[in-house]
Symmetry: C2
């Protein structure tokens, strides 16, 4: 069978190789050749799964976004409003090694999306969906201006993440958690 | 004189060429060759001003950061607290063509700074300085938790900017302004 020699890898495994490169050296370094080397397969094996580098990038971005969104959706839906928002938004902050790696990858893709219609479309759908979920939670709790404040909650985690990752450790995990806690407190009006 | 043939350009002009490329095609596309072409000079002219591509990137990042920070410093210092914070923070949002271009450039450098000690150092100093200025303004106005809330104000503009630029127009300028206004209102406690 013509696909036999590629059976040792998958699109998901190649995406993991891309994430490793993007998180440590940046997305610029994630060439088809480097992704193949990282996955321990041939360039042909990558090309078997992805016709172009753009296809590989689109799959990888969608893959990481889906994974993070699935984790947001599994957030505690029976806790207090503060707990629910904290659980969901904490998934987007670089608070441990896994989330740090994901945040680096997602932020790098976000910047690339500024100049790419296909990546920009994924980013737009992702932000709109997360904002809609946050809006629903705030509206159900009768918080004023739910959509505007959902915009602020989403922007605060994206901004804290960008500021933390880009500044060689200006903020540690405890500071990021404190900042998120304060923002949620301001948005939902608890003192 | 050996420098005569390079007299038609300057480090600042080369940085502008780099900004044009970074804002429209991304920082990956800003090679020495492309910067030279954009500036209408030879590769040798770029190499005369910058020994390496990293040197060029460091100068360009510092240059755009200095320009934006100078504009923040010229903010109205006699208006209300809301006016002063709005004036300063609006400089960091992509509200017109000039700020959109700068925001694209600074965001691209921020992501690159995640994997670069030299760029990360510039980013760290920049964020720390802006946060300190915001903290001073909040503290002088006797706002509670001034440093924590300054962290939130900085993160909100960085997050709104990243979300707006990356999502193919999810937010327009009016929405960004409304979001900033609401965040300032929440942080300083005015109703």
């Amino acid at each position: 069978m013509s696909t036999r020699k590629y059976s040792s890898t998958s699109r998901e495994q190649l995406a993991e190789s891309l994430f490793d490169i993007a998180a440590t050296r940046g997305l610029d370094a994630a060439s088809v050749r480097e992704v193949a080397t990282g996955a321990g397969v041939s360039i042909g094996a990558v090309q078997h799964h992805f016709a172009t580098k753009d296809d590989m990038f689109l799959f990888a971005f969608t893959h990481v976004v889906d994974r993070v969104r699935a984790r947001i959706d599994t957030g505690n839906s029976t806790g207090t409003l503060t707990d629910r928002l904290t659980d969901a938004l904490s998934q987007l902050l670089p608070l441990d090694d896994e989330r740090d790696r994901e945040a680096r990858v997602m932020t790098a893709f976000a910047v690339r999306a500024a100049n790419s219609d296909t990546l920009g479309s994924v980013q737009r759908d992702t932000l709109a969906a997360i904002r809609a979920e946050l809006t629903d939670i705030l509206r159900a709790a009768r918080i004023a201006k739910p959509e505007l404040r959902a915009t602020l909650l989403l922007a605060i985690v994206d901004g804290l993440t960008l500021d933390a990752l880009s500044s060689s450790g200006l903020y540690d995990a405890a500071q990021l958690t404190d900042a998120l806690t304060e923002q949620i407190r301001l948005v939902i009006g608890n003192d």
